[in-house]
Symmetry: C2
Subunit: 227 residues, 2 copies
């Protein structure tokens, strides 16, 4: 696919950007920690130039902060910040879902349905007990939500959504909240795709808002317990 070709022709700058982004989101690079250039150069095995280019690109998503003449730091996490991420996601995703349902054609609805089927078939946790998320499930989950909101193309708002999603994922990865009951998520997703296929905007938006809030509440608990 086009992804393959893009990877083949990707510059070092772009490849480092993706690895760096992943390391910030996963928590491998801790919030607030200094991003010493020499250390990163070693870590990713590249020169100064692509490294700095990647860091500046990431700084535009607020996952890292750039300070003139004093380098880069991983963005801090905190209750106030996360509340804003959740609130912005709830608002933005509601609007995008509404637009999608109104403007999306049948091909879109089918893509969403397929994404739901794929997600539904996967187990959420590696082993039921541990509460460790299954990487495949995470990817399918992201894809499902992405397809849901992609019925109407929104150049800019899609970018905003991607940024907010990354920030959310970071909090989940770092704070490792109480795992959610798999049944509840499955039910949410089923209701979501159901409402979408019936073109029931009101229901779909309601379910999505609750889905976002439910998924955030355990993280908010952790943040409120230990600031």
């Amino acid at each position: 696919m086009s992804e393959e070709r893009e990877k083949a022709t990707a510059t070092l700058s772009t490849r480092v950007y993706h690895r760096l982004r992943q390391d910030v989101i996963s928590g491998a690079l801790a919030p607030g920690s200094k991003l010493a250039l020499e250390m990163l150069r070693e870590r990713y095995g590249v020169g100064m130039t692509p490294l700095r280019e990647a860091l500046y690109r990431l700084s535009a998503t607020l996952l890292v902060q750039a300070h003139d003449q004093r380098g880069f730091r991983v963005a801090e996490i905190g209750l106030a910040h996360f509340e804003q991420v959740v609130s912005a996601r709830e608002r933005l995703e509601s609007l995008l879902l509404e637009d999608s349902i109104r403007a999306g054609d049948d091909a879109w609805a089918q893509r969403a349905a397929r994404a739901h089927a794929a997600l539904d078939a996967l187990p959420m946790y590696e082993q039921a007990a541990t509460g460790v998320l299954n990487a495949e499930w995470q990817s399918a989950h992201h894809h499902f939500h992405y397809e849901l909101l992609s019925g109407a193309r929104h150049f800019i708002q899609d970018m905003f959504h991607a940024i907010l999603w990354d920030h959310s994922a970071r909090y989940r990865n770092i704070l490792r909240p109480e795992p959610l009951p798999e049944d509840m998520l499955k039910a949410d997703h089923a209701r979501l795709i159901g409402a979408v296929l019936e073109r029931d905007v009101e229901m779909a938006v309601l379910v999505l808002r609750r889905h976002i809030r439910n998924g955030s509440s355990a993280i908010l608990d952790v943040l409120r317990r230990s600031p």
Copy 2:
């Protein structure tokens, strides 16, 4: 001010970023045009490194597009794109204004009132006939709208708003639509600050939405006439 100090310690990368951004917004660098690195290096009198860093930062705001292994281009303009910018602005600014009025304290309301007074005192056009916008007025206009929406601090949404504002300004600068009647804008601004001081969310949001639509309609006309 802190601005002064920041300028003093700003890196070349940051200074080039601001100049590049201004040149894209003003239209000095035409939509769709190729950003040849050698040409830009000459134009801004800097080396490759800060230039590329600035270009990547701008690419994160969608004002320029980066293509791996084939350089950078200024983003295209078009009707569909502008409609999305306007729609996103209307939605986002409504939400931010609502939050501002609810959460903003008296100090905020006073800042907004001062910004309005400063704006109201300035003439909108250089000379009434030409329809050329007064640069001072533009800056005061931006500042007024920024203050209006800054009653509640929103790290991420504020960034989104800044991006949308830049895109809007670019269309205005490039397409040079029929100038708006100065009286109408003055009336909009007066109603806005009035509603804010009375903490009338419903009225303020209504006026703001119409203000955005009114300001966009002449630009939409130009886009619809000549794609």
